[in-house]
Amino acid sequence: MPGKGNIHPVVVPKWGMAMERGLLSAWHVDEGAPLSVGDELVDIETEKIANSVEATHSGILRRRIGTVGEAYPCGALIGVIAEATVAEEEITAFVAEHAATSRPVSVEASGPTPQMIDVNGHSLRYLTQGAGGVPVLLIHGLAGDLNNWLFVQPALSGRRVCYAVDLPGHGGSSKDLSGIHNLVDVGDLLLAFLDRLALDRVHLVAHSMGAAVALDLARRRGHRLASLTLLSPAGLGVSSNSEFIAGLMAAGNRREMAAVLKMLLADEVQVSRDLVNDMLKYKRLDGAEAALRKFCEFLSQENRSTAQALAGVATPVQVIWGAQDRILRPLTAAELPSNVRLTVLESTGHMPHLEKSSRVVEAIENWGPSG
């Protein structure tokens, strides 16, 4: 829904394809309060996860339309932002007009759909959002998929095209790993993927195990990378929590999986039933467990020190880490070379892109090399 001149709507966002409605769980701002861009306005919960909606414009929160405890369809008007100079009647007219014309967003009608592409005999699933600029490529971690970026990808795609890809063996990509024997082979497959999409240079944003793949590309094919943003990275001299990996591999039911996934987030309450079910559903796909076992093996072969991992990397590197990461202990600035930008997020675990998505977006947008 577009704004009208200097009146800006606050709407229920659409996070991912399956989202139809969001539950308004809290307002952070009172009616009449002044706002800056990026201020947290309101918390929206879906069946999968909760997140905050931020102010897209500065001004004043002129209307709080959404009620706490109510569920609204994606796209529904829940608030109005405008400067103090805008007349009350105009705001009232805007709300009335919206009430008269708004239609709930249907599942099929909106939201981008992932595509499949065949690369060197592997079928890879990827999702494209936005257009133009130097492209961004998002790479998930072990047992993750492109949906891990559901908060980050829409925000980053406002100014450039942004791709999220499922690594082989993960998400909707084929589970057969023939010809892939280590993370270098995974990196080569990603280069072939970039070639297929005719992408010469990308900003690479990679999480956890994906960061180990990204670092390998930076060492070998740095000219393809405009910048490198690593979230809670593996491959940077910190070894992964072996209890988590063993637990993830062993978990065969909801209870076991919930216990393992709680280690991922700083706020364990955020581990919802659907998050647990989605991970179990992934593991129960034919070939997924075998692929995961192989990736664990690849990961265990990674034993470079921090200095070795960054040796010869000419690409600008930034690292974003959750202070409460229980999977990969956060490095301190003293442990990293001075040319690596480090952002440590408080009250954040191993999934900063889900737990503190706006801070992650901000770190990427406001950093010279990737901004």
């Binding site: 399956a18 909707g172 039911n253 039933r273 559903k281 129960r284 796909l285 034919d286």
Partner: protein
């Protein structure tokens, strides 16, 4: 991943398993659109595939040797499939209405369910019998029964009741890969229900309940179509401030006893919803499980909502009255909520 119906999900499961394993064969009345070997070269009718279209397109892909049209003689069909399973094939028999299983009880109860036991594990019977259950379509008393409790009573059989497209595909794949005879009961009202179903093959394990909704106030255990009825009730109850933990056991044999007991230990209140007749039914079975193993957790008597002990009526208003409704489920929940045994 795409939105698929229960019917499409079942079709995909059959297709995936037939591609993966050449030992998987199908047998049933009209499952190959009436083609005989003489007509097998004729262009296929992709709209056909059994009375409900579940096997559409399979005879065209796999041929008459693996998609076997049988005469209307259920006892012969199941007898053939039990024998075929003993030789190492993996037959999936399509029996159409579960009500017709009555003429095959010897083949199922005395042969399929007993051979592995009586031959000390030297024989196995990897057989799946698919059949439609349930009322709601005015199909009258001989085509509307919920007979899952009968089969649950027989050791040696596994009994599966998928309540959603995702579960239907994963449970059917698990059933076909299982080395024991599986009675796979599809509710006829569910065939057009749609949800996201992965394109790939996957398993849903037997004996693991699906927790459909989380809640702290009352556990509702429901089977097959009744999962949807109970879900509708839980939405009404949520507005009244009652949090329902809805549990779909998905298989009645094996039964996820621990999953049910864990939930009852948390809530202390339980309502069991089953479309079957009440006497010697799965509802009574689950109630006995809870009464004997979770008695000290209970804050109220166990609630049980079932059909009455009558045949399924043909008359539409009577059939509607026969089936447990969301209102009846909600009332039963309100009763256990207002009762305070301790």
């Amino acid at each position: 991943m795409a939105i698929k119906s229960y019917r499409q999900a079942l079709n995909e499961a059959l297709r995936h398993e037939m591609r993966r394993d050449p030992m998987v064969i199908l047998a049933g009345v009209d499952i190959g659109d009436g083609y005989t070997s003489a007509a097998a070269d004729a262009p296929g009718d992709a709209e056909g595939g059994g009375v409900l279209g579940v096997t559409a397109g399979l005879i065209q892909e796999f041929g008459v040797a693996r998609v076997i049209e049988t005469p209307i003689s259920e006892s012969a069909m199941i007898g053939m499939c039990v024998g075929a399973a003993c030789t190492g094939l993996r037959p999936v028999a399509d029996l159409m209405f579960a009500d017709f299983l009555g003429v095959c009880f010897d083949q199922i109860f005395n042969q399929a369910a007993k051979l592995r036991y009586m031959f000390g594990g030297k024989a196995k019977v990897p057989l799946v019998i698919r059949a439609m259950v349930g009322a709601g379509q005015n199909a009258a008393a001989q085509h509307s029964q919920m007979l899952h409790s009968l089969f649950t009573h027989i050791p040696g059989l596994k009994v599966v009741l998928p309540s959603s497209p995702y579960d239907a595909k994963g449970l059917l794949i698990t059933a076909i890969r299982d080395d024991d005879p599986v009675i796979f009961l599809e509710h006829k009202v569910l065939y057009d229900v749609q949800e996201e179903v992965p394109d790939e093959s996957y398993r849903v394990p037997f004996g693991e309940a699906n927790i459909v909704t989380d809640g702290d106030d009352v556990t509702v255990v429901a089977f097959s179509m009744m999962v949807r009825t109970a879900l509708a009730a839980s939405k009404v109850l949520e507005k009244e401030g009652i949090g329902v933990e809805l549990i779909d056991p998905r298989t009645t044999s094996p039964l996820d006893e621990d999953g049910i007991l864990e939930s009852v230990a948390k809530t202390g209140r339980v309502v069991i919803v089953d479309e079957g007749n009440p006497r010697c039914g799965v509802g009574a079975d689950v109630a006995a499980l809870i009464a004997s193993r979770a008695f000290h957790s209970l804050k109220a008597p166990i609630g049980l909502v079932t059909a009455p002990h009558t045949p399924v009526p043909f008359s539409p208003p009577l059939e509607k009255a026969y089936l447990p409704s969301a209102e009846r489920v909600a009332d039963a929940v309100r009763r256990v909520m207002s009762s305070n045994a301790r």
